[in-house]
């Protein structure tokens, strides 16, 4: 039997509190900076929405672009990553293991290097180079391993192997059992993978900064631009916009994932 009530531990609480403050304080300061008239005088200078308006006017389009690229990355990693994860989970060949290693390279290699490689390959295709599609390709290269790894781990579980065998004994063809049994059974892992891909894509800067053009900017790229070329209050207001866009989406996705876990969990 485990004790139901935990004994008070003041030291533990103090440490937790300190860590929380350490993590949250910079965000709060930044949000505050985006809402004051003048950061150097602080709150005394009064609150304003002027900077937010300015950000929306100058960089509003990056919000839509980032959300679309995030959604596009999720869609592309689903279509490419889920079948790939299945193949890797079922294959015992050395080539499959090697491929798995290669697949995770873009995570370890600096984004700039990946971006340079993409420019070398696709740089000559001007219309593609200048479109958001180019950035999407970069994001897919970067986020695919996260989807594949998460879903592949789910496919590898013994229950999944047994589920597939059960479907086979019942006469299901590969298509029938893949879409009808396996994908639904790993659905919680797929949702977790989507969440990760979306989050990574929205916040991705390194690679995107190398790939973007003045007409194809995402949220983080715009943020860098505003920090570099405008008042600190504008940059901070931009952070606020970023949080306002991202947090609701992440919360919604997380709630969905939790609901799925609850429904399918045994």
């Amino acid at each position: 039997m485990r004790p139901t009530a935990t004994a008070p531990a003041p030291l533990l609480f103090a440490v937790t509190f300190a860590v929380a403050v350490f993590m949250i304080a910079p965000i709060l300061i930044s949000v505050m900076a985006g809402l004051v008239l003048n950061y150097s005088t602080g709150l005394k200078s009064g609150l304003t929405l002027r900077w937010l308006a300015q950000v929306w006017e100058t960089y509003g389009d990056t919000v839509g672009a980032s959300l679309l690229i995030g959604a596009g990355s999720v869609a592309a990693t689903l279509v490419l990553g889920v079948p790939c994860a299945y193949m890797l989970a079922r294959s015992r060949s050395r080539a499959a293991r090697a491929f798995e290693e290669v697949l995770t390279l873009p995570v370890a290699v600096p984004g700039l290097a990946t971006a340079l490689a993409l420019i070398l390959v696709y740089g000559q295709m001007a219309s593609f180079r200048q479109s958001f599609g180019f950035i999407l390709v970069g994001h897919v290269v970067f986020t695919l391993p996260f989807m594949v790894r998460t879903v592949s781990a789910a496919f590898q579980r013994d229950e999944l192997v047994a589920l597939e065998e059960a479907a086979r004994t019942l006469g299901a063809s590969f298509r029938q059992r893949f879409l009808g049994v396996l994908v639904p059974a790993v659905f919680p892992a797929i949702v977790a993978g989507c969440l990760m891909v979306f989050t990574l894509s929205i916040g991705e800067f390194n690679l995107t900064w190398m790939l973007h053009t003045p007409l194809t900017r995402t949220l983080p790229v715009g943020l860098a631009d505003s920090y570099a070329s405008m008042r600190i209050e504008v940059g901070s207001a931009y952070t606020l916009v970023f949080l306002a866009v991202i947090l609701p989406v992440l919360w919604a996705l997380q709630a969905l994932a939790a609901a799925l876990q609850k429904r399918y969990g045994t």
Binding site: A162, E165, A166, A167, T169, L170, A172, S173, P184, A185
Partner: protein, 352 residues
């Protein structure tokens, strides 16, 4: 619901895995139409491998043949083999309801919805899952899951039913009541079934015949009573129940007797071995009297329905004796011991 009765013939089937391990040595076995056979043995004996060969989930080494009735199914993929299989973990589809699980095999065969609903309804009645059709597997008890797995496997009217440790995931009490239920259900369906288990009581309760397996081959095939009373090997005797070993020296061998506690009993002529076996329940205890071996009770364990005693008699290692619950013997008692000579079993040494 009555299902087709199909004969299964396994001829020279062996299985060597990619890493060179021999999962199954060349094995030949025939299962009669409508018969329930148990593949019984410890883990790693090859029973699951043989079951998976039958299912088509593994391919037998070249040269092996598997026939269902008149049809050679050796090269048939699992999807087209017409088997129903109940997995140890049940492998129920977690996102589907009970009814959808049971109807899945019919769904992938393109059976129309009305017919599917009728068949699922019939099966739900058969395995008594009424009222649970809309539940998901996670909401069911272990026994209910097991019944869903069985209903799903027979829904497609398979020629052969394969059961891989169907009761292993259940707790001991439930197991006992469900094994009788399963046995009865299999008889009612009349299907040829192969049942893999490591639990001899489960095999006794469910199967018509048992094939005891050891180290990748079948050691002995027969009905439960034959195997229990006349095991062909010490391994079979020990696997099906507890046994005592009685040693025989050269003199005892020469004169065809067993020596125990100062007396000699004749030993069955078939046994010219240095060791014979006897089951604990075949040891008869009483007061010291002429013709009975002299023994001493060293340990006493009350087991509820019976008492297990460890006794010592001169010339033999300690012996286990099962006696009735009301037997008066206590630790330290000097007792007489009698073994009917026809209860002595040969002990061919464990097969290689």
């Amino acid at each position: 619901m009555q299902l087709e009765r199909t004969r299964i013939e396994i001829v020279d089937c062996a299985k060597t895995y990619a890493d060179g391990t021999r999962g199954l040595k060349p094995t030949t076995l025939t299962v009669e139409p409508g018969e329930v056979i148990a593949l019984l043995g410890p883990s790693g004996c090859g029973k699951t491998t043989l079951l998976r060969l039958l299912a088509g989930l593994e391919a037998a080494d070249p040269g092996g043949r598997i026939r269902f009735g008149d049809q050679d199914v050796t090269a048939r993929p699992v999807e087209k083999r017409g088997v129903g299989m109940v997995f140890q973990s049940y492998a129920l589809f977690p996102q589907m309801t009970v009814a959808a699980n049971i109807g899945y095999g019919l769904l992938v065969r393109g059976v129309d919805e009305a017919e599917r609903r009728r068949a699922v309804g019939e099966l739900v009645d058969l395995v008594r899952l009424n009222g649970l059709e809309a539940k998901r597997p996670a909401e069911l008890s272990g026994g209910q899951r097991q019944r869903v797995a069985l209903a799903r496997a027979v829904a497609v009217r398979p020629r052969v039913l394969l059961l891989d440790e169907p009761l292993a995931a259940l707790d001991a009490k439930l197991k006992e009541s469900l094994r009788d239920e399963l046995a009865e259900l299999l008889r009612r369906l009349g299907i040829t079934a192969v049942h893999v288990t490591h639990d001899q009581h489960e095999a006794f309760a469910i199967a018509d015949r048992l094939a005891v397996m050891h180290a990748g081959s079948i050691v002995q095939v027969g009905d439960a009573e034959t195997l229990y009373r006349a095991p062909a090997h010490a391994f079979v005797a020990e696997f099906l129940g507890r046994v005592n070993r009685l040693d025989r020296d050269a003199d005892a061998l020469a004169r065809g007797v067993v020596k125990l506690g100062g007396v000699e009993w004749p030993c069955a002529p078939r046994s010219a071995e240095a060791r014979v076996l006897v089951r604990p329940e075949d040891l008869q205890l009483g007061a010291r009297q002429p013709g009975w071996a002299a023994a001493t009770v060293r340990h006493r364990t009350f087991l509820g329905e019976r008492i297990q005693l460890r006794i010592e008699a001169a010339g033999q290692p300690p012996l286990l004796a099962d006696v009735a619950r009301d037997s008066p013997f206590q630790v330290g008692d000097e007792v007489g011991l009698l073994i009917a000579p026809d209860r002595l079993m040969a002990s061919m040494e464990t097969p290689e």
